[in-house]
């Protein structure tokens, strides 16, 4: 039963994907091969729509936006939900009100500012944490024992 939860999630990750998905992380790289050390073809940002051809083992094969070239990105960076701001107003074509609202426009930022003001909780060390950021190439080298990374 414990393992079943994980298996079920993994099954979802390898499910057949629709034609178009949306980037659901702040930024993500499209690479030349399904590897975090393969050359980067493009950077895609939150809410970008990409055409997905197939997905396997946690990777999605996608078309680089504005190009005919194909590349690979993490499947977990994509969602089937439409969270593209440019799609607001397409309710009649099947996009739900919630999905349009998820276009966001910074509401989360506004809530954080309001919460910080009301709670006086100090976020400074959270901001420090987020400064520790390494490229996948560095991380793979480090884990394999590279002292220079």
């Amino acid at each position: 039963m414990i393992g079943a939860g994980i298996s079920s999630l993994q099954a979802q990750a390898s499910a057949k994907t629709p034609g178009t998905m949306t980037v659901q992380v702040a930024k993500s790289q499209i690479r030349d091969a399904p590897s975090v050390i393969a050359p980067v073809l493009a950077l895609v940002e939150y809410r970008t729509r990409v055409i997905v051809y197939e997905s396997k083992d946690g990777w999605a094969k996608v078309q680089v936006p504005g190009s005919t070239r194909l590349g690979y990105m993490f499947l977990s960076a994509l969602t089937e939900k439409n969270i593209s701001a440019s799609d607001a107003g397409k309710a009649a074509s099947g996009v739900s009100t919630t999905e349009i609202a998820l276009a966001g426009k910074g509401f989360s930022d506004a809530v954080e500012q309001s919460y910080r003001k009301a709670s006086h909780v100090d976020y400074s060390w959270v901001d420090v944490m987020e400064h520790y950021e390494y490229s996948p190439e560095t991380l793979v080298g480090f884990l394999s024992g590279d002292m220079q990374q």
Partner: protein, 332 residues
Amino acid sequence: MKRKILSPAFFSLLAMGIIVFASLSSCLTLSESMDMLASQAVSQGLLDRYQAVMLKTAAKAAVEASRGLTPEEEYYVGRAVAANILSNYPPYNRPELNAYINKIGQGLALYSFRPAIFMGYHFMVLDSEEINAFASPGGHILVTRGLLRKVQSEDELAAVLAHEIAHVALKHGLASVQGARVTQIAAEFAIDAGKATGGEIAAFTSSFGDSISELAKILILSGYSQTYEFQADLEARRIIAAAGYDPNALACLISRLPSHDDKGGSGFAVTHPDPASRLDALDKQPLEPIKEPAARKVWPIPRQEKPNERAADPVLASFIRADRFAAIKVYF
């Protein structure tokens, strides 16, 4: 104004609506199905307009509850929870140690079930003797010096970090908060910022704050459910094996952690299942063979791209890991 009492027929209708939704789900949303059903029921005199509105409202709430939070929303919840934990536990400001922890943790996350989250995984050491670690939704992971002092190798440190990564990847944080709160927070997050009034933001800030307090309390005082802890152990063992660490390191570390019988226990001794039951759960589900060569996430590094030839030999790599662990351990 007097309202009709909701009759058994109403609830039968609600159940029928759900069945109708299930059968039509490929082409209609739950909301649309309920709207259609409610309109028909009003026209046939089965429901009055008030009851129809209630039916539609219930359907809308169910839709919001099923939506969950987006990674962006998880990130903002996670930042707030981490900030609250950092208000209770002082950070350990050793940049060398925090850089080391982040390189291992972020590297392990590449092999997790969810390698890409909204702003990535971030780690920090807390200056506390308590044996504890916290995984906030959104990828902010905090580990105490007390827990680090229990760790005897980089492999065991990887096991600690992988366990916390697994909680984030498997979305255990938000799943532990009361369902009603998540429903409320999800619905209110969906307000369009361009149209949100000051009052709406203030109201949401209040429910947001309540959810943050509840989640921080769960993480600090009670911990996740036993099922989630066992799931995180299994996923952690898979992650470290996929990343090239010793999968047995997790069991080795768990066997040295305090049990529930330890007097005055806090941290892990309270928030995690007893070590014996964790070891038992790991034993019952042997590690499945890891796909070779690391097919899932990281392809073999082409020879010309190897960052450092010294790392090519796994035996040599283990010596290098041992050396750097010994060097960084002085900060624990």
